[in-house]
Symmetry: C2
Subunit: 287 residues, 2 copies
Amino acid sequence: MIEIKTEIFLGDSKDILKDIGENSIDLIVTSPPYADRRKNTYGGIKPEKYVEWFLPISKQLLRVLKPTGTFILNIKEKAEDGERHTYVIELILELRKQGWLWTEEFIWHKKNCYPGKWPNRFRDAWERCLQFNKTKKFDMYQEEVMVPIGDWANGRLKNLSETDKIRDNSRNGSGFGKNISNWLNRKEVYPTNVLNFATVCNNKNHSAAFPEELPEWFIRLFTKEFDWVLDPFAGSGTTLTVAKKMKRNSIGIEILPEYVDMVRETIQENQFFLFETKEKYGQSKSF
Amino acid sequence: MIEIKTEIFLGDSKDILKDIGENSIDLIVTSPPYADRRKNTYGGIKPEKYVEWFLPISKQLLRVLKPTGTFILNIKEKAEDGERHTYVIELILELRKQGWLWTEEFIWHKKNCYPGKWPNRFRDAWERCLQFNKTKKFDMYQEEVMVPIGDWANGRLKNLSETDKIRDNSRNGSGFGKNISNWLNRKEVYPTNVLNFATVCNNKNHSAAFPEELPEWFIRLFTKEFDWVLDPFAGSGTTLTVAKKMKRNSIGIEILPEYVDMVRETIQENQFFLFETKEKYGQSKSF
DNA sequence: GTTCCGCATGAATCGATAG
DNA sequence: ACTATCGATTCATGCGGAA
């Protein structure tokens, strides 16, 4: 049996990344601290300084990624003084200048988004998952994230609430009703570039940037077993935990010691559950 | 009874717009020809030339819009040679330089997007609806687009405990307490910035850029009756048709004569249905 | 085992007030 | 004038205990 390696390093990604060999990582999936967010833990990066702060890190990411690898960047710009900030779209342009290909933009649709009411805007229910690549020939295992149509038809349609049916507003039969017959003789369908995951809001000790489903989906899509996954902003270690459960090697970098300690404990714990949870992560594809 | 005016002009928006008075339009909602798309109808604008082509038009749009008005731009960059084009995000940056405020980015989630399969990407199921404003004090009628409350309310709001009825602002200063009693008689909640509209799949020879629900939603949100709505790329006239049904005055501009003829016929037709459809568009709010 | 119910909490944003 | 802090507003979900 081949051992799965899961490592977490304490320090600044800009520095630590230099110790990782070039062309060695299959997938980078991360959610960096957003501008002016998490001030109490990360100090908060000023929006005007965000691109400048990120580029040295992404330069290293470009170096360590395999030519067939993928970089997924989960990020969302804040609204301030009535406007959306532009640092994220400026970052896209700068990353391309750095040599990255901007392959795709996935939308993470958060149904249970933050509450609140303002006179000039509604609640923000989505985030960007930007896909960047080093070359046009990257690995993509589309079949791994297919949605079983049986489950979709039975589960999704059955679970669809009455309000969902009203909200989704499938007028003149162009929604579920009309097209369902097309899927009767198929077993699975490919997903789209809009992903639905609920945010995590547990009453436990810490908060995670994204739910486990998010890195799980991208790991399944862009890696196979024993590949290497990197999260340069590991935080509470969601990416590493999921990678380990899915039998991928992983490396995390985190600047806050308390998070690093926590991740190390989590990794230890998971070893006991590795075999119990294998089935869940290996076969469910429950999207 | 006040008459509703619906006008369609034949010509290039860059020129025709100069005949419209400044500060006279309450809402601009449009879906311009996408770069390199609809070559057979519009001649196709090269992606590299897109921003340059659009800016003279948006300059006029800025002039004709009221200070309290809103500009909704429905657009999506195409994928070419394995990459997403950057002309849309470059356009956002240039529009800000022109004086526009980039207030928000709505996501139009197309649940029944076009089928297809590619080795390097999934089906594209979303488009941007970019909101721009002239000032920070724009009109917004949020109550007009409220949606039914989620099912969670059914089971949970029946019996409120005493602690539910008092505000509880304690705990880690996260800011949010609860006052569930606010929702006791609540049947509707505010929507988010993710919109679900099914695409129209008609096999006519003209390209309907968006379904009626899309302009209807923004017209309801940003205008009241007898306000003025403008679509500088009217196409088959969806915006005008909806505006008329909703008792808003409207102006359309379209460069192709056959579209203009078609729109004029449609407008005539709708006059017979004005009173029949009033109820549907005035009261349904079926989102 | 299920289902139901109480409860905590979340990458938020604006406007007013204070330094 | 410009920045920092504080108060107000709000909806969906998972967890855990009870029925």
